[in-house]
Subunit: 254 residues, 2 copies
DNA sequence: AAGTGGTCTAGACCACTAA
DNA sequence: TAGTGGTCTAGACCACTTT
């Protein structure tokens, strides 16, 4: 286990040390393949294998046509889900800008933007189960892309049983906000949420929509909202790239 | 964008389709490099590049000396952090097995185990900030490795200001459990937690300690506990591999 | 035009695992 | 021992970006 390193592992280890020590700073270009070939006297594919290891570890990102760079940290958006759709909180801070995500982004001096698409679908099995829909139950889905300073930051799909929202303003592809979440605007009150967070690599599609660099994992955050009888009203699945988000909860320890 | 695929991308796309359609089932071996070379008539490195793409996406795991396999999903441990150290909840279910993680695992018919190491350290800067320690403040750290059926499932480091716990049983490397968390056993009551969840690729060290397959991201869950005056008492950093955990919160929407 | 990385080939040797 | 993947070489051509 502590034995000799292969050639490509040597290169990876050396570069990793330089990056972690700060000798190679974030945003800085790493040595080109030609430079590494000369420095070590190894063949090109060997050098490439070494660099690839660091790319897979997420320490290095790859540009196009020009160079590879030490990964830079994004300023993360801190997203507090324990107050995110709270009616109380919404009254307290009196924000009218939009939802709390938009408020938090704006408060940091950045420009939030959202695109919304609405459609009626046969939901995937997991959503059907969470919403307790039957085999043939339809759902209205509001699909959002959230941007910060015109960079895509998150995907958010909100599913509601079609029977609950047919004919309401929620069917329109506009931004709708209300204390207690969009459902409150049509009189449906969610009294409890169950949130589940899974961590995984993005699908091809997600990586493309979010312009993710390689080796960027995502959090899949699923919030299911229930009414006072415990009936599920809505299910929101949010894809949060790990390099630009922190998820926060405030918990009472009682 | 919709243009021609390179040879290695063709192989990746074909295998991805077979995996997603179920033609290649989880746990099943994918075709060997020799088979793919013959099937496509491509050179070995080209075939390897195609397969590597799927490994990086997390769809394929790599064994040693023998074959590559379609990734199998672990049965995930669902970890409810909204009740995890609740005093009320602890009284309600009357569990004595250990903490709630251990209870949840045991309830699923699996065998939980923990190893604990205790030491006094100069904490890293992030921990110092969260605990509001000065430049030279020391911390007691309880480092746990949590196992399920003798497989490592999570790393959990709990930092407490040295001044608060010096001379208490918390300095001993034993399992300590109490309603409200270990601190309650020495009379320190946490009334509020702030949890922050970040998503990233594991460090080399974490990957080794947890025996992580390649392309397995982790959640870094940080819980800071405060007393009723808002003073931080403890900071627990838990590393949760994405392939074997789901994080859950129950939230009141008031 | 020069420099970068991406793709591809046709070899070779080695370490590990299963039969 | 046969089959697997891991490492490595010395070439080649191409697409993209910067100067």
């Amino acid at each position: 286990m502590r034995g000799k390193l292969t050639k490509n592992q040597q290169i990876a280890a050396d570069l990793r040390t330089e990056i972690e020590s700060g000798a190679l700073a974030p945003g800085e270009a790493i040595p080109s393949e030609a430079q590494l070939m000369e420095r070590y006297g190894f063949s090109r594919e060997t050098v490439r294998a070494g660099v690839r290891t660091l790319v897979e570890e997420g320490l290095v990102t790859t540009g196009w046509g020009q160079g590879k760079y030490v990964r830079e940290a994004y300023p993360p958006v801190i997203w507090d889900w324990s107050t995110m759709e709270s009616r109380r909180r919404h009254e307290a801070d009196g924000s009218k800008v939009g939802d709390q995500w938009a408020s938090a982004v704006a408060a940091d001096g950045h420009k939030p933007r959202q695109e919304v698409r609405v459609s009626i679908v046969e939901p995937p099995k997991r959503i059907r189960d969470l919403l307790q829909l039957g085999e043939d139950g339809l759902a209205v889905v509001r699909q959002r892309v959230r941007y910060v300073d015109n960079l895509p930051y998150a995907l958010s799909d909100s599913y509601m049983p079609e029977s609950l929202v047919a004919g309401t303003p929620l069917m329109e592809p506009r931004d709708v906000h209300a204390p207690g979440g969009v459902l409150a605007s049509v009189g449906l009150i969610q009294v409890k949420y169950r949130d589940e967070i899974a961590v995984r690599m993005p699908t091809r599609e997600e990586a493309e929509k979010l312009s993710l660099p390689v080796a960027t994992p995502v959090a899949e955050h699923t919030r299911t909202g229930y009414d006072e009888d415990g009936k599920p009203l809505r299910c929101m699945v949010t894809i949060l790239p790990g390099d630009r988000h922190v998820i926060r909860y405030e918990v009472d320890a009682d």
